[in-house]
């Protein structure tokens, strides 16, 4: 091979390496994702802070109602089990 051919191969290798570097950087950037704009972040935080008091109150009320219903159902279930035992006596 003449020196010119070797030189061309070296240039090609350099170009390929540069392209690979670019693709690698682009893939890394794509994987990291584009962060939202500052305005979007600010708005989201303000919305979260403004709405969470109402959301928490609603969540607490719903959880309490569910628990109260579970308490009554469990207490009633004790009697229902007894009733079932009396109404449906064991077969001989």
């Amino acid at each position: 091979m003449t020196p010119t051919v070797i030189q061309i191969i070296a240039w090609g290798a350099q170009a390929v390496k540069a392209v690979i570097d670019i693709i690698t950087a682009a893939v890394a950037a794509a994987q990291a994702g584009t962060p939202p704009s500052l305005d979007a972040l600010d708005k989201r935080l303000i919305d979260v802070q403004a709405g969470r008091a109402a959301e928490r109150a609603a969540e607490a009320a719903a959880a309490t109602a569910e628990a109260d219903a579970a308490l009554a159902a469990a207490a009633q279930a004790e009697f229902d089990a007894e009733l079932k035992r009396v109404v449906e006596p064991k077969k001989p």
Binding site: A25, L38, L41, R52, A60, E66, A67, A74, A77, F79
Partner: protein, 178 residues
Amino acid sequence: MYRNLLIASLLLLCAALLVACSDPARTARREVDRLTRLTERTEVEVNRAARTALVAVATAEGHRRGAELKAAGCGPACATQPSTALIDPCKGIVAASEARYAAATAKVTAGRTTAYNAIDAVYAALRVVVDLLRTIDAGAKAAGWEAKLAAVVAGAVGSAADCAAAVAAFKQAIGGAK
């Protein structure tokens, strides 16, 4: 000459990409986004855990109340009545049950409030980061802005870690309370 120009422009493009990706303000925005999402998910987790614990506590207490009422010869209607609507001995049994239930739920809700406070601390720390980013965006890139930004981001990350620890402690406490 063309070869050198080509390589130089490719390298410049690479450098621009790398600089854009490692820009501290951009990294901070990404971190704020990540922590906001994480904290929102944490609050949903806290609510779910608290609700599950409350229902578990209520179910256990309900069975105990029913069994005690039955043993005392009280009627089934007593199981769903408040103590004030009953006469002794059923009234005493339900009143004691109500007191136990109130104490158990208070423990769960107090833990939930502690977790909420930790969550609020994260949001407050994130607002500090956003405020600083706004100042930086406004063009006031004073000397040392990168270090200041790194410090407030570290503060937000620390708050998120404290929050995660508080939530884990809450879950453990209500796990034991069931």
